[in-house]
Amino acid sequence: MPVLWLVLIVLVMAVAGYMLGRARALKSAGGDSRDLHSLPSYYGANVTIMTLVPAVGILIVWLLVQPILIDRTISSTVPAEAISDSMTRGLFMSDVRRIADGLDLAVTEGAMGRDEADNIRAEFTDIRDRLGNLGVALGSDVGPEVLRAAQRYRTMSSAGNLLMTLAVLAAAGVGFTISYMATGKNFRARNVVEKVIRYLLIFAATIAILTTIGILLSLVFNTIEFFRLYPAEDFFLGLTWSPSFGGGSELGILPLLWGTLYISIIALLVAVPIGLFAAIFLSEYASSTVRSFAKPMIEVLAGIPTIVYGLFALLTVGPLLMRVFGDDGIGIMQAGTAVMTAGLVMGIMLIPFVSSLSDDIINAVPQSMRDGSLGLGATRSETVKQVVLPAALPGIVGAILLAASRAIGETMIVVLGAGAAARLSMNPFDAMTTVTAKIVSQLTGDADFASPEALVAFALGMTLFVITLGLNVFALYIVRKYREQYE
């Protein structure tokens, strides 16, 4: 039975369970819901949950585990000689799966009988040809070993699917029956539902955390792999970045880190004052009409894709700076792509970020604080400077650090605005590049994923991660320190 049908049946049972459970609870109280321990809908929800959760849980786990188990079993029965030299066991198994799927398709399309699919022999039939007619393209001719494995794969799968169907339906049925029988006016359905909701929330939080850990682990393992091939001190202390896939690369992170920091600092120097002042204007000075019009206008900036900012840097800001600082002007800028170009544009990109967050935070400062200050004869700007901003400071610091994380992680603007040269220079009108831009260039193209030139991307990513994490921890520390002082 297809999984879709199974899910539908369970869902129908769940819905029916809701109504039946509700009705049974009401009946047990003689139709008067005040005699029930919980609201009638809780009894219905209880039956629904007990029907749905175990059944769906079994279904999901089964669907995940069954292919792995079958794969293992079959792979272990295939003797090593059966796998030709040009192949690994993994490739062999993926052929097996492909053929098994092809046979399934052939059966459902009616091109093969069920028995024929189970007993067909590679020795007598050209499987590749027959499956090819159905649109299943195979890379090579099908040998008898592969075909037999595929057939075994099919048998086991269909047996597994049957078992799964039975197990899921049984779970749904048992859950339904138990919870339905338990339903009565003294049953504490509300507590059960409450508990299930709590587990649901915990489950969601766990998934979020586990994914993070997963991402982190993949970074860590690849980074370790990289450091096995390339000495860590050369990576962290090297002053040159010149990867060459032919070998003999120098992979020093310092020029990249310097570029990242330089560009981010320029970006923050642009974004923080402008964003913060805009936020103060919007929340403290602007009339509600101006505000209702200006706030969305600023937030439109946040909706522009960064690649568009990149184009803006490349086509507008770069040439503009060239006219002033280039050879025709002061003469300290060689080309339109430079740290300054990328920094300015990135700053513009971050303005709505800073202003929007700060605006919300400033608005959260209670009006009574402002009243207190104004009532003592302070002007608006004195009130902002001495009462509102200090009260909003932890949030504002958070907003700024968030903007800093964005700046450090930004890629497109750098690629288009800052050039690609990894360079250690103080001149903001030189072309430089950042960690993120280099991660992209190391992984695009057909690099061998086992070479240090490609694996360095993970080490770079890990370094970025640690820096951003450090920033966040630092932000928390500042916020907490401030809190201690004032609350």
């Binding site: 009574s368 207190g372 104004l374 003592l376 004869g377 302070a378 004195e382 001495q386 002082q485």
Partner: protein, 265 residues
Amino acid sequence: MYDTPKVENDVATTDIKISAHGCQVYYGDTHAIKDVDIDIEDTTVTAFIGPSGCGKSTFLRCLNRMNDTIDVCRVEGDIKIDGEDIYDPKVDPVQLRAKVGMVFQKPNPFPKSIYDNIAYGPRIHGLAKSKSDLDDIVESALRRAAIWDEVKDRLLAPGTGLSGGQQQRLCIARAVATEPEVLLMDEPCSALDPIATAQVEELIDELRGQYSVVIVTHSMQQAARVSQKTAFFHLGNLVEYGDTGQIFTNPQDQRTESYITGRIG
């Protein structure tokens, strides 16, 4: 329609501090203050009493233009302090508020240290010439608000960490520290125990020597104890205004009498 009984306020007397005429306040479409006329005397404590929601706070906030900060609020009529129309475009509300201090209904200490809370006004208005000067101002303000003994060892602790009643006195001290000519106090004793209340009342009595004090209170006894003049508000109208003794012993209006004897409100 107002039935203010005539009080002896002939124009020649100079000790009228605040005079409001035909004062109307609207919050959007709500008419919160209806045609109020009142003359508040200098060196006098005036009590505003009336049921909750009758507009006492609203009218009080008109007197130092705190209503300006509320978008939907509109004030009409004229309100003069020392003969000068405070809603005149020439008047700087900031200067006005330095002269007309206010203690708010809800205590609102700044998230700063106790010391900085009190020093806030004096610093802004440059009242202290030196650090020790400022220390003196802070100490005397805290003493006058009857909270010095409780906080003298923790002046650098945050003001928001005080109890509700302590915060209320902190706010009184903060208002007193700027040396206003008029002090508007909105239920300054609502969270205070009898002893602290007595001390604050003492302070009010002392302030009366130089300033004009307007106090909103829900306690008839307090109004009777501290004020010389009492104004009774009801549903946005100033129903009756006169000498405190007279209001409490011989009210002219039926509504005043019912309120004082506890039948409305």
